[in-house]
Symmetry: D2
Subunit: 336 residues, 4 copies
């Protein structure tokens, strides 16, 4: 069971609930969020009468949740969570589109791409400064230098910045520059990192592990929310299957299923999901038709020279076409 | 290399080509179709000058194809193949929708469903009379009795019939009643069955094996075309992945990829693809947005009483909504 | 529930049981085997008192089985089934080793291999005359000519023959020549074929589908036993996984798990299981250590010239080493 | 290409090599290990004459390696690396056996298990103090308190300690108590963690990610070696497949394949590999027969009360039987 305290509940009120839980023979798990405190009652909660806790001072409500994930579940919050990133409202009626290169490679490349994607209709800029690479000998990103270039792009274009953070120690640095912190697929079950970004108030873009189930994905989001940060965008980016022709298999089923299981916004990354630029647009349109709240698209001015993921990057002109077609599909299902 | 003979080429002309192939040190593979003969030249064809064969009498053209599949490849036929099923033209600008129950259970159930799906906008009726079941103790279908009920439904509604054939011996019986022969996912690599339906002139709906790659799927289609039957609808119906919440994972990537690799029409089965009725519509819309030429949807008047696959069947009213929404998406991408 | 009739039960006794089942509101499923009849009671059998049936004349015993597979289950028969193939007793304390080429290519190749594997210690000879190939243009086997060569090899060496059958129609031909009928991985769910071999009295070597679960494998064996043929060897031959370095992944877990779930003998095919000859021996030894009752190994005198699967075939000399090492492992676990 | 400097090479010698690399138009990647420096030459190294570098002062040798992993490759070091953990020599002729509970739960449980596994023949003690759990509400381990209990167990039994480290920050604490640092499956691609343990001189037990390929596993080991720590034990612990009856699928193929690709010792974890205690022993025996250098086995005095993984834990008595049988298999293949 989860006991949600009112915003502004006092330490005494919280302590009283904890004491009551322990007196009843359970353990209490405190999530001390910036907005309010949530108390998990750990143990077999079937015999408990919820009203026992709901009448206590400072308590907003309590919920019994069958799924192993609690705070991310629609059973707890029925209405869609809106995650605000500057003026974009992910989870609202408009489809939010994030675009940019896989990696920040140099100032020219990034600024050129930033202006191009803005003009084409993107609402946020992506670009990696810290890159998780399977080889220690591959390009590992520009680090802080890359973050500074991203900040300059934001200044010039007004686009908010989405960039990856790989370790708890990088968080103070990255939050200085970025608007949204991305957790990459390989770190989806890096629990210490999840807890650490859960203690920030930045929006988090959480990518599905390449072989994770939807329950595992939601459990990882639960780690973030359990630390008090509710601003999580869940990102489907393709799973590993036996198909060799495509890099990954976009799990389109995940879109309506996640929308039914969680109140958090769902973003789709068709660039990683299929891995070949010439198929990115049809998959992006499919994602919107299936109900996705946003897209994240790799765009590069010269894909053939990209240091990473060139083969799945659109040139700005084709990205502009994708945006136009996306609007038509969005309109067909009554969204913007 | 593939040598395509003209329609009406004589036996002597064909024999001359075969003799030349053997004289050149290769083996010849003859596909004696109802319309024309195709001769495969088996072996390392790199040193061959194609004109050697193209100047021979009765030869229409020859093609070197890099992929292991030849006749199904777009390298051989660039333009979309249109498969005619009564008045539906699969592969043309209109999206064809096939609907009906998993199994023919009895006359009342089938006729009721047939009228309902017709009214809702379906253009063909599906229903299984022979059912491949993982248990020998499960309902195995009504057999010929089921086929007769399907024929009656066609008479009443005018809808062409799509139904499964499981063995070469069933083919004469099933072709008597059905308009389209379905090869089920479990039989995708039942090569004798593929060859046998390849010798009919009926359109074939070939379902992807639940763990087959796209290349394996196209190789299975190649078996059918290599026997002379080009009327093949390729059907994506979901693949097995680690995701437990859904029955299968609809491979939405398969739609644009197959459209680029083959000239054959691509159909999507979102009912098996996700396996829960409440998510069928978003996946169907995604399939159309991604470029599918048709849908096959399970519809049952009383899903809770269905002998098989009730959980993924739509009631007619919801199917009608699916058709309406599908039209909106089709219009948004310039199709009907 | 399954009701097992005594050997020699009369038609009247059987009919009485069926009538009683129907009177009790269930359906009866008759499996009329060559040795005895088994009657499946289909429906929710929880309220039934087993003794009602066990006291009837001609009934040996009745069993309630929780798993979807019944006749193959250890719940039904606790003791190991011994499948006799000439003098080999698969399922007994000795490890049975089957060896030979993937395909029968010509008389010389097969006879040479047959003598070599016999000398090295093999107890049965494998070789395909009908080959399921993913391409219609690949070598499809020598057919009856291949069967005749196999029969000649048996005459010369005394080794029983294991060879694949692909369709119900081939069965009369293949049973004329072969001692064991192999069902290939791609046909594991070809239910008509399973039923047809279930009506023969030949031992069947049933290969696991390359992406089948153990339950699906046992359900396919159930199809064979439900038709009256209990002589089934279950063969683990590797499953498809994401690993690219090996052709398949030998599921070593399957060995002890299958031994616990079924009374049928378990054979392992390390040649397909790993797909590279230089790793076949360690995997074969692992299979024996894990409790397998037999091995099936690809051996070819000139692997580099093989028409199929050359890369995973041992030369006879290395196969002889495998046999020697296998004996050492078998001895270490108290087997022969 | 990799240029390996002699132990004791001077900074000037190293700098000279780097300068030469850059002059030749390549990038240099320096791995400054505690024992010696390795310099990676990044770029297309085909035109380079190796002798150019090998004649330079301070250079031991240079190697061109085709695989993406270099330092872990057998192409670089042909002979088996021996990893010393107290008196155990992993990679030598003796099979090393590590045993203990999944988690350190309390002092009594751990000390009891430690004495029992020692008596049964284990050479090292495992036990988790920091536990990566998919739910934030599950038991997360005792932390430093658990480490202290482990240290006490070592003092009493003399067994070296294997325990998991989850973040770079925990390393100083854990290295204070542990003899071997374990990297868990979920952290196999946590590159910052890999680099951090690569900077210690402790032996590392690197678990394969549950859906990682062998190349990805070796690339992760490469991260550790590239920082100068060569004491890495590679651990196969089962991969995720479609099989539902077992928790994972032990990839037995991985044992001989890894032994051929890398010089590092290979350990198998059959407890996670199959996930049910009653099948752990056959899989352990299979691992040894396939050539594994060691085992890691979960043992718990009262599995039914374990806070995690009870279902796959052996009681000490059965573990003792496993050790006895393991010795018989080891002897059969000429090991100890």
């Amino acid at each position: 069971m989860i006991i949600i305290m009112r915003a502004g509940a006092t330490q005494t009120q919280i302590q009283n609930v904890v004491s009551r839980i322990e007196k009843d023979g359970y353990k209490a798990h405190l999530s001390d969020g910036s907005e309010r405190t949530i108390i998990g009652l750990i143990g077999d909660d079937r015999p408990i009468d919820r009203r026992t806790y709901e009448v206590m001072e400072g308590v907003e409500k309590s919920v019994k949740v069958l799924q192993p994930y609690k705070l991310v579940s629609r059973d707890l919050y029925e209405t869609d969570t809106i995650v605000n990133v500057n003026k974009i409202k992910f989870g609202d009626s408009q489809i939010g589109i994030i675009a940019g290169p896989c990696s920040v490679e140099d100032r020219t490349q990034l600024l050129e791409t930033a202006h191009a994607v803005k003009e084409a209709g993107a609402q946020a800029l992506r670009g990696g400064a810290f890159k998780p690479r399977s080889s220690p000998y591959s390009f590992q990103g520009l680090g802080e230098k890359g973050l500074k270039i991203l900040a300059e792009a934001r200044e010039q274009t007004g686009l908010p910045i989405v960039t990856e953070v790989m370790t708890p120690e990088q968080i103070p640095l990255v939050t200085n520059y970025a608007d949204v912190l991305q957790i990459g697929a390989r770190n989806m079950q890096n629990y210490e990192l999840l807890k650490s970004v859960g203690r920030t108030s930045h929006p988090i873009l959480l990518k599905r592990g390449m072989m994770a189930t939807l329950e595992e994905l939601l459990m990882s989001a639960e780690y973030i929310l359990s630390e008090g940060n509710n601003n999580v965008l869940i990102c489907e980016r393709g799973i590993r299957t036996f198909e060799k022709y495509t890099r990954n298999t976009t799990d389109i089923n995940a879109v309506p299923v996640l929308k039914s299981l969680t109140h958090l916004p769902i973003i789709v990354d068709p660039s990683h999901g299929i891995g070949k630029w010439n198929f990115v647009t049809p998959v992006a349109l499919a994602a919107i038709a299936a109900g996705a709240d946003g897209l994240i698209i790799e765009v590069h001015p010269k894909p053939e020279e990209a240091l990473s993921d060139g083969g799945q990057s659109l040139i700005p002109k084709r990205f502009a076409e994708l945006v136009t077609k996306s609007r038509a599909i969005a309109a067909a299902i009554g969204r913007k």
